[in-house]
């Protein structure tokens, strides 16, 4: 945060240029992102993102919490895909513990993760279109997003900060009639995506504003660490769900949308197609949710059922111990990555054998994707900067942590 420093972070390179601060209060920066632009008239000569305005020290806080308590913090990193963060963290801890998760829990995790992806992409589509000037798409997207949030509320009691996954499974069995509600949503959702596409895909103004704008080559995308739709729109075919499957993703069939164009329109198309593919995955999970327990059989780690707690002495003791002392995790380290709506979300968890993590590092997809922004914008117009920011779909909470 250079505003405290008397020396400017970026100085004009020549007489013709000037320095312009875009943000941190600019409405199209999706939070508190500050961009320092060196401009020559309307052209961007250089760009430097300045971040840190939302830094809350979550990684440091994690070191002072029990393993289970950290799940709550992971929601707050990327507030548009809480379930993906929950999943990534619990998978990392489960890998440290060497734990097997029952199939029912895994399937419900996949289902909720894909709903999260739909939720996140809807917010992205609405705000991205709003930035570029298409007001009404926002209203349509938030209509469906509300449906997804109601599903989250039904399953976890919370609309946004769900904290629904536990180390070892799920916190609760989904309520009665939940799967019917999900089915009702997924049956209608493809026609809703058609509506968005009708508004944008062949809209000449939209195409004019996005086609050929903010180009990034596949070599640059890899070198700059871009992941997710930002990378796939540049023609690099990698999706961790398909290529390095976790949580039984290998049991589902879905296509990974890839585009060779590398511009804003390509990123838009990749994400819109992902909406459809995610919906298909949810439908596949609905078709065969396995019966069985939702928690692993590990009494020292997983909280016992209320029923058992009230009738069995041992269950009560374990419950008391897990709540007051946490559970010890064998020493070691893991890096677990999942495909979040924005790209590779990675958790590096180090354990020293105690009940609190020694170190938790979050590799945020937005943090790395943001580095590709100057590459996209330098040499282009200021108006295109807005389109480019929207197209990489950044969440400042995840960048600053």
């Amino acid at each position: 945060m250079a505003h405290l420093n008397p020396t400017p972070v970026l100085e004009p390179g020549q007489d013709r240029t000037m320095i312009l601060n875009m943000g941190p209060q600019h409405p199209s920066t999706h939070g508190v992102l500050r961009l320092i632009l060196e401009i020559d008239g309307e052209n961007v000569v250089r760009m430097m993102p300045d971040i840190g305005y939302l830094h809350t020290g979550i990684e440091k806080t994690c070191e002072a919490k029990f393993y289970q308590q950290v799940v709550v913090l992971t929601d707050r990193i990327d507030y548009l895909c809480p379930m993906t963060n929950n999943l990534c963290y619990v998978l990392a801890v489960e890998k440290l513990l060497g734990m097997e998760i029952p199939p029912r829990a895994q399937w419900i995790r996949v289902m909720l993760n894909e709903l999260t992806r739909i939720n996140s992409h809807l917010v992205w589509l609405g705000t991205h279109a709003l930035d570029i000037g298409a007001m009404s798409v926002f209203l349509y997207c938030f209509r469906e997003r509300e449906d997804v949030l109601r599903l989250f509320e039904a399953v976890s009691g919370q609309r946004m900060m769900t904290s629904y996954f536990r180390v070892g499974g799920l916190s609760l069995e989904p309520p009665l009639g939940f799967f019917d509600r999900v089915k009702y949503f997924t049956d209608r959702f493809p026609s809703r995506v058609d509506e968005y596409e009708e508004l944008l895909t062949s809209n000449p103004i939209w195409v004019e504003r996005t086609k050929g704008v903010a180009y990034m080559s596949p070599e640059d995308a890899i070198a700059l660490g871009a992941t997710g739709p930002t990378l796939r729109a540049s023609g690099v075919d990698i999706d961790l769900r398909r290529d390095m499957p976790y949580s039984s993703y290998e049991k589902f069939q879905f296509k990974v949308p890839v585009s060779q164009d590398g511009d804003v329109f390509a990123r838009y198309m990749c994400r819109v197609q992902e909406l459809r593919e995610s919906n298909k995955i949810v439908q596949q999970t609905l078709a065969g949710v396995p019966e069985g327990p939702i928690k692993a059989d590990a009494p020292k780690v997983v909280l016992p059922d209320r029923e058992k707690m009230k009738t069995q002495m041992e269950a009560l003791i374990y419950h008391f111990k897990i709540i007051t002392e946490g559970f010890a995790v064998p020493a070691g380290e893991v890096y677990q990555a999942v495909e979040s709506p924005r790209g590779e979300m990675g958790y590096y968890v180090v354990s020293d054998g105690t009940a609190k993590p020694y170190r938790v590092h979050m590799r945020g997809a937005s943090f790395a994707n943001l580095q590709s922004l100057p590459k996209m914008c330098e040499g282009r117009l200021i108006a295109d900067v807005v389109a480019a920011i929207g197209s990489i779909d950044i969440i400042l909470g995840e960048i600053d942590r």
């Binding site: 945060m1 890899i222 660490g225 290529d243 590799r363």
Partner: protein, 165 residues
Amino acid sequence: MALAPAITDLEKLKEAPALARLLSWNAAAVTSAKFDRDELTLYIDRPYIREACVILRDFEENPFDFLSDVTCVDWYPAEPRFEVVYHLLSIPQKDRVRLKVKLSGDDPSIESVTSVWPAANFFEREVFDLFGVRFQGHPYLRRILMPEDWEGHPLRKDYPVEGYR
């Protein structure tokens, strides 16, 4: 599922493509290795880290062409105190490897890998900001998350969770 014990014998791990490539390049660069929970960790000697990254990136059979993450772990009060951790991903082979470099507490500096992957820029700035590890050859090594005039490096273990009072 019981945890399999970690394999730390270099001889047994020679099959791993990343280790084999590094050993054929310079056996002195890799000080030790560990295979634990299906993840391979290679300990690299500090002077060789940048070259080791170049070798792995340009490795033809199994190029580790993508830098996923750079971070650091502070093992205070043990010495060497810091471990800088690099996570590499091979996009063609879908393979991961973790490189680690140990740094002492009185001279926490290491060569930057920004010339190998520009992606390392933000990651190294973050490690510098929160741990105080200096990256030589970094184009713009300044604080990234904390304010410019902040004192101390918050993720060090001798930095209290609630800040100095």
